[in-house]
Amino acid sequence: MSMRALDVLIVGGGLHGLSAALHLARAGKRVTVLERSWVGRHASGASAAGVRTLNRPLVELPISLEAMDMWHKIEMIVGNDCGFNAGGQVRVAEDAKDLSVLERRFATVQGAGYHHEELVDRAELLRLVPAISPHCVGALVARRDGAADPHRTLLAFRRAAEAAGVSINEQCGVTAIERAGSDWRVRTEGRDFVAPVIVNAAGAWAGEIASMLGDNIPLGLKASMMMVTERVAPLLNPVVGVAGRPLSFKQSGQGTLVIGGGLQGRADIKTQRSFVDFDELAKGARAAVDLFPCIRFVRIVRTWAGMEAKTEDHQPVIGASPNGNGVFHAFGFSGHGFQLVPVVGAILADLILHDRTSRPIEAFSAKRLMKREAAA
């Protein structure tokens, strides 16, 4: 019997693939990442990189809060601060109606025993974000939240993974997967790879990979858009979102304003290209100038859309495959998976090394989505 050269094959060189690779390699596994384009080509490189627990669904809070602790010591984990700035996240209410929505959220979170969110009045909001339009009436705040730099994060996870012995193959797209005894044989545009364990972290294309492995998981597609302006003088430190409006607004370390908020562009999953829809993006510009009237004449220099898989309940799929032995999924982050990157890698390492994890991940099972499909 020939010795296996590989323990784990990871499909997808986005942040989730890299994080899983890093945790597994540090635990002594021989790991190879297969990436069709280049590391960070899709959601991870296009991300707003908001590191946010604020307003997350309750089921995600346990792992999200753990991830937040990891972000606060990210330099110890990957050897670089990833441009993480814990300037806080702020969710603004523009009127009494929106404020009552925030109040309800606050009550729910407190009721569930979480204390990372805080309700602040107009005076405190203006202190936190002096540039904000004075019509705003209050906000929900998570002071330990913040944002990172997606490219520095990618570089840091890549370097840490490689230093731990991970082999990263770019321009290496997976075209087919079949069983080879108790192993999986993964065919790519180039050579074949064989390993007993596969991690499916293929982002927008994770549904395709899942079906190659025997899981039929219905997935939608997101093509969230971003815009970035020229550099301006320091304007704000926290990341600002708004209740009831498509806006997420922050200033990068370079001084550019980075504006997103989940407005959807168009995506073509086949050609792997995504397109900005300017009629939609105009809504984001309107929200931005309404909230920050002082930036009206700042120039937009770049816009883009990034592709990611979306599930029906907007919760990710994290865990072992129901049908494929030795197959583990991590995808469907539905537009908010950046913050979870450090912890999801740890969860996958738990599952692959020990067959279980102490973290609550029941809500993220692939089965929940497949059952619904069967019933339909």
């Binding site: 280049w38 990618l154 105009a282 510009a285 009206r296 937009i300």
Partner: protein, 467 residues
Amino acid sequence: MSRRVDLLIVGAGPAGMSAAIIARRHGMDVLVVDEQIAPGGQIWRNVDAVSATSLGAVLGKAYTEGADVVSRFRASGARYQPRTQVWQVETGPKAFVTCGGVATAIEAGCLLLATGAQERPVPFPGWTLPGVMTVGAAQIVLKASNQIPEGPVWIAGCGPLALIYAVQLLKSGGQIAGFLDTTPPGRVSSNISKWAKATLNAPIDLMKGMSWMAALQRRVPFVRHVTEIEAIGSEKIERLRYVTASGESKVAAASLLLVHEGVVPTIHPTLALGCQHIWNSDQDSFAPELDTWGETSEPNVFVAGDGAGIGGAIAACLRGEIAALRIAAKAGHISDAKAATAAKPIRMRLKRALAPRAFLDSLYRPRPAVFMPTDTAAIACRCEEISVARILAQAGTGHPGPNQVKAFTRAGMGPCQGRQCNYTVAHVLAASEGRPVPDVGLYRVRPPIKPLTLDELSTLGTGGAAS
């Protein structure tokens, strides 16, 4: 608020105006948009107002000739919308524009991009210092507001525009501290065969070039075959260092340095549209791949003028006319056969107009340091202040393409959207990886192709009500 026109022409230069005239002749509904305040494009900028003045005499016949095309364009019945910036073009075709602070979309049966050329960026140590600018920018100021720089000017570069501007500057009473001709030696003799073909077909143009050069050599310090330049100063340029053909390094006081190393087609719009491009090795630049009518790989999107490959004003007019014939035929205004017949004599004239190109391209081909600065401390991306050395260092880790270099160094992320550094990054990666430049390619273009303000974008779809 989306408008619809049969033909949208972007750019009211020689190509755009000529196309509009022909398309109107065949009864099409034509809209021409341009960011300038008057028709004419780069070469005939402001010619309406200037041709009969003393400035017109300074700028010369090749300039004042434009007045005739402009007046025919004005009389053609094409709608003309000046002060209008096109900031995005999409399949459809569809263009997004801003005018007076309001953004709108225009849907077109056909889109003709007649957006001309841009000056080739020339990275060298100190090129980002205030007091260093391009010859083209200086000439815009002359044409638009009849202003010349105060005090003596250094001009460094290669190509007809540097020579023409130097002559125009002297005629307007300006002073030239010195002209540093960066054309490498032996260019005329090594291109004798092309020269013969060129002179046979268009003697006047070439004789003009020769006479400018002779005039300059008589009147200003003229240093030939300069190999390197450097601008030195703390807040602005104070001194200029240059290296002569014999390898001697010289330093001179300088308060203004104008540089020019030729022009390259403007391809941001066709890149944004995802059109196919080809590498033009004679002109060391990319150009959109076009059929014989100027249609790109994207249906109903045409390119005419210098944007199709540098050919000069006469060729631009003719290419505009040829494209307009095909566009009229596609829209059913004339038959294909009629369009082909009408295009025949124009194609003959185009061939003659382009005949001197091969010679001019090899005569004025920039020296290697223009593409890849010898001093790697030179800035490549001026928006983000990223040096050539930083790009080289990034190239050393793996085999990144331009997009990865952009992501990791921020080169190309500034307001110019990579127009100033895309070729430099391609050349640096090509040299360090031993690959040809066309293989490396350029940055993926991310919209908008020209910056617009948040306020302008916020008006899109509201008819200006949000403003």
